[in-house]
Structure formats: structure tokens, C-alpha cells
Amino acid sequence: MTDDIKVSIRNLYKIFGPDPAAALQHVYDGTTKADLLSEHGHVLGLRDINVNMRAGNITVVMGLSGSGKSTLIRHLNRLIEPTAGQIDVDGEDVLAYDEDKLRDLRRQVMSMVFQKFALLPHKSVLENAGTTLKVRGVAKREYLAEADKWINRVGLEGFGDHYPHQLSGGMQQRVGIARALTSNSPIMLMDEAFSALDPLIRTDMQDLLLELQQELHKTIVFISHDLDEALKLADHLVILKDGYVVQQGEPQHILLHPSDPYIEDFVSDINRARVLRVRSIMTPLVGEIPSNAHGEVDYDDTLESMIARSGGDTSHSYVVMKDKQPVGILDMTSLVRALVPRAAPEDGVRNY
């Protein structure tokens, strides 16, 4: 994991309507989304988005429908043009690109995976996966060989000659991922890529993505409306609401320190034992390793596995190991305390 910022979004605004420039001034002057719609007839899509996406990280943009997350991801490869703001990829301002450079960006730098798969129904799985290379003018034999490699990598050996309609949804999305990987672009945009799949298949696909990511270290921008999915995948989590960023940061941090009632509400339904990890709640090691420790646990273990291991005994404590070095102490009492959300919604009634 490196700290290079691959994609940087700064002060991004998007307004839908007949005269976005005039409406933008109202937004600068502090008009809210609802007022902008009722008084000026414009829809505020995105408001003052500032996100830095690091190379090799999975940045998950999460929000409910209408929060502007799909609009945001389409700004990165300019399928949607912003009203104001700046988008830098590798330090270059994408918005200044002319048509040719933009096309090169889409061909070489960014590839996209879609919620509804968007495969070509008249092409075989192999040809679909090779589309991203084909548009660059790569010879057929070469792009089919490359596509074959990735089709096998996503677990579709032997399906190359099938047509998309012969595959299940999960398999079709594997083709979608293979298609994006075939382009060998450093950035992958995934627009609710797993939202159309069954829960079990979705988990499979998440595992597949994490497995691929361990090997490939792409910069992935993942859009999701599912908090469990977001927490599972994200290195950096951005939570959108009504077109603005409510909170962003490390997912464990957001879970333990929600900055806003909206997010508190959001995270209260989560199975915290499964999501939270030992590293987030341990106390850093000061001095010697205590002698009463019941054993060693890994830095990245989930709390769920710890509860199973301790047999529910809250008097236990463990030494936390990272790369075979002791880095902290885990006290089971603090673990149990972390399982309770700071503010549970009363009587299950949602405030938002």
C-alpha cells in the first residue's frame, strides 16, 4: 500500500437543469438542495466533493439511492461533465482533456464495471472480455489470448465460447470484471457492481475482488449502497448524503467514531463483531508484554473470531501481533464495550 494519491477530486459540483451556471451561484450562496429544486428548478447532484483516492486502495463511495454516488463515479471518466471543480488523475487535470486524450484515458487508465453488467449479447464471453483491448486496435489473436487469461482468473474456465445469456448473473458479472481487468488499466471503477446479485453470490464476488486486489493492487473506486459490503471492501470509505460528503475516512474509524447522527443511525444495524478488527480497539503496547496474557492474536482478526476463541470469557486478554511483532494488548472487556454502538436508535425508529 502506497500513499500516492492517484485520483483527486476537488470542490466538485454538479447541478442538473437548464442553466447550471446560474444555479451554481445560488449553491455558493448557501441555497439548500430542496430550495434549489423548488425555487430555481435545478437539481443539486453533487456539492463540494473533496476526495483523495490513493493508489492501490479500494475507495468505497457509499450512500442511499439519490445520494449522488453513481453521478460521482461517472465524473471520473467524464461520462458526466461537472458544473464546477477539478479532477486530477496522476496529477493531470482530466477536465482539461480534449476528446482524444479523454478517449485515451478511458482506454488506458480507467476501466469500468457496471451494475447491469452491460455485456454485448451478440458476442461470446471471450470476445466480451476482449472488448476493452479491441477498441484500442489490438489484433484479435492478442486480445483473445489476454481475455482468456482473465476469464480463467475470474473462475470462468471453459465458458469462453458461451454467450452472456447462457450465464447466470454472477457469472455475467465475472465477465464484466474480466473485461475491465483485460484492459490492464491501473484504475477500476465499479458502479454498484455487485448490487444486482444474490447475497451469497455477492459475498463470493467480494471475496474474488479482494483476492484479485491482493495480487494486482489496482486503484479501485467502488460504489455501493450496502454498508456491510462497503466495510468489507473499503480501505477508504466515503459516505455521501444528498450530494455531499457526510464523513470519510478509514471504515473502522467511522464505525467507532461516527461524526453525524445520520451515520450513527446508519452504522447501528451493522454486525460490529464481524466488521471491527482487533487493531481498532486494542491498546498500544507500552513497555513489556504482560505475563497474564492468554495467547497471541493477529492484528487483523475480527472481534467475532476473538469471542469464539475466548469462549466468551471477558476476563481474558491477548497480545496483538503484527508481522510477528507484539504491537498491543487486547482486553476482552473493551472488546465487549466496542460491540455496543455509541447511540442505538431508540425503539428501532430511524431518524433519517
Binding site: 469500468m112 457496471f114 454485448l120
Partner: protein, 343 residues
């Protein structure tokens, strides 16, 4: 004394009216009846609509309805020279194509023609059953000595439908890419589709000589080109927006998108349009026998003109057989395209 006399008198236009009176104008039916002594009784129920003829009776300076039709005719004849000068060379290749197709099909003996047709049917449909059916139908037509006429009809349809596709698909593509063009073209298509087929023939007879094949060629193409244009436009507009977005996101150029995504995905609709175009060509080629189109239509026309019931019915049945053949073969091809891109 005409009904509207008083109107013109009260407006003080009597002098102007009388100035338009000419002694040797064309005689109208009403004048003849008046001369013969037939006088209609007038009551207050009989207020005539102030039509041109009625006003003319009251005021000679107002023109008659027949001046309108005459004006249209004169207008058309006036621009005919220019139209002919432009359209004649433009449509000449159509004449050549039709003549070439007709003479080729005439020169080809049946024992070569049958295998060729069987092969075409097989390539389009990949179904031996259909090949057998087509050969059986053609054998029947040949058996009752309608082979030559049927082949002429097929040749005309082949040329006209081919040109319809050649012109219609690009027009449809252009329409799908420009809303403005679509707004302009759709009323024209509506007009072409609603004009009764006979009406096409009237101006064409004046434009082209009746001995030229392009006369009926143009009539058939104008009539049959509509569905292929409409369905190409529709098909391309209906292509899944998600797939188009994906194509954009991979950096496809407009050309790659058109030939790699839009046309292939619109193909089922385009094929349905071609099917309709072929069927409409068949309908028109029968009517166009009025203006010397060869084929089974000629026999139907003979049946009507000479009241030869048997001739008319047998050739009519022949047309039905041709229609079934053409429809089945194009539908089979369409189904193959559909099967290849199920969602």
C-alpha cells in the same frame, strides 16, 4: 339568379364580377341542366355551401373548382421538365438494374434457378424443411406454367427491396443520431405510408415514360422503403443505454460504437423492417402491373379486365405462395438473429 348574388351586390362588387364574365367559358353541368329547362326548387333549407362553383354562379370573377385541379395540373406540368431533368439520370440505374435482373432471370433455366434459390433459402434460414417447402411451392407454380411470371415478380422485388435496404438503413441510422432529422423525416414517412398506392402512380406516369422499368421501380421503392427506415431508427434508439454507456466508458469511437454495438444490437429490429419492406414490395408490384410491371400482377390485371375468373384466382394464389415464401425465409433469418442475442 344565383343564391349569393345579393352578397356580392351588397358588397358593391357587381361591376368587378361582371367584368370577369366571358361568353365562351367552359360549360358547367348546372348550366346544361338550366338550358334543358330543369329548374331546382329553392327553399330556405337549400342554402348552398359557399363553394367555388356556387360563388362563380353569382360572380363570374371568382374561379371554378375545376380551375383548382387545372392549376395543380399546370403547376405540375410546369415543373415536370426540371424534375425530369434531375430525376431521370438519378433513377436511370434503377432501370438498368431491373432490366438486368429480369433478363438474367429469364435467361437462367429452371434447373439452375431452383438449386440457387434452395441455396439462398438454406443460407438465410439454415432449415432444410423450409428449403423443401420453397422448392415445392415453386414447382407447383412451374407446374401450372406460372414460373416465368413468378420469377419476374421475384426479380422486381429482389431489386427494389435491395435498394430499399441500401437507402433505408443509412437514412434510419442518420435519423437515430439527429432528433431534428427525425422530426423532418417522420412526416414524410407518414405521408408515404398513408398515400393510397394508386396515387403514387399518377405523378410518376407523367414524370417517366410508361415503357421504362424505373416507373414502377420508383413507385415500389417509395412505398416499401418506409418500414426499414422506421425500424432502423427505432432499433438504434432502443439499444440498451447501459451498453452504450459501457461502450463510451471503454473509449469507443462513434464508428466503433455504431458498427460494433448499435447496429448489431438493433439488427432484430432492422431485420423486422426488411421483412416488412419485402412484403410491401410484393403488394406494390401487383398494383404496379397497371403501369407495365411484369409478373403475376399482369395476370391478375388480365383477370380483372377480361373477367377471366380462373386466371385471376390462380395467379392470385401464386402471389400468396410467393408472399408465404418470402415471409417465412426472412422470418427464419430474423429468428436466427434473435436467437443469437437473447438477453
Amino acid at each position: 339568379m344565383a343564391f349569393y348574388d345579393s352578397l356580392f351586390n351588397s358588397l358593391g362588387l357587381r361591376d368587378w364580377c361582371d367584368a370577369g364574365k366571358t361568353a365562351d367559358g367552359p360549360v358547367s353541368m348546372a348550366d346544361l341542366l338550366a338550358k334543358a329547362g330543369v329548374v331546382k326548387e329553392e327553399s330556405s333549407f337549400d342554402i348552398p355551401f359557399p363553394s367555388l362553383d356556387e360563388l362563380h354562379n353569382a360572380c363570374a370573377s371568382v374561379g371554378q373548382s375545376r380551375d383548382v385541379t387545372k392549376g395543380v395540373e399546370d403547376g405540375f406540368l410546369a415543373i415536370k421538365g426540371v424534375l425530369r431533368f434531375v430525376l431521370d439520370p438519378l433513377t436511370q440505374p434503377l432501370s438498368w438494374l431491373l432490366e438486368f435482373a429480369l433478363s438474367t432471370i429469364e435467361a437462367t433455366p429452371w434447373w439452375i434457378m431452383f438449386p440457387i434459390l434452395a441455396l439462398v433459402v438454406y443460407l438465410a434460414s439454415k432449415s432444410w424443411k423450409l428449403v423443401v417447402f420453397v422448392i415445392a411451392c415453386l414447382s407447383f407454380l412451374a407446374f401450372v406454367d406460372h414460373y416465368d411470371h413468378a420469377m419476374q415478380t421475384l426479380a422486381v422485388i429482389y431489386v427494389c427491396a435491395f435498394l430499399c435496404v441500401l437507402l433505408g438503413v443509412p437514412i434510419g441510422i442518420a435519423m437515430s443520431r439527429s432528433d431534428r432529422l427525425q422530426r423532418i423525416v417522420i412526416p414524410i414517412l407518414d405521408m408515404l405510408q398513408t398515400l393510397p398506392p394508386f396515387v403514387y402512380l399518377i405523378p410518376l406516369i407523367f414524370l417517366f415514360s410508361i415503357t421504362e422499368p424505373k416507373l414502377y421501380g420508383v413507385a415500389i421503392i417509395l412505398y416499401a422503403i418506409v418500414p426499414v427506415i422506421r425500424l432502423t431508427d427505432l432499433g438504434i434508439r432502443l439499444v440498451d443505454k447501459d451498453v452504450i454507456e459501457a461502450a463510451n466508458s471503454f473509449g469507443m469511437t462513434d464508428k466503433q460504437k455504431l458498427f460494433g454495438v448499435q447496429i448489431p444490437l438493433a439488427l432484430p429490429n432492422i431485420m423486422a423492417g426488411i421483412n416488412q419492406t419485402i412484403m410491401m414490395s410484393l403488394a406494390m408490384v401487383v398494383i404496379a402491373s397497371l403501369v407495365s410491371a411484369p409478373g403475376l400482377g399482369v395476370l391478375v390485371l388480365r383477370g380483372i379486365r377480361n373477367l377471366e375468373l380462373g386466371v385471376g384466382l390462380v395467379s392470385g394464389f401464386g402471389i400468396v405462395l410467393l408472399a408465404i415464401i418470402l415471409d417465412r425465409v426472412t422470418k427464419a433469418a430474423l429468428n436466427r438473429v434473435n436467437a443469437a442475442q437473447k438477453h
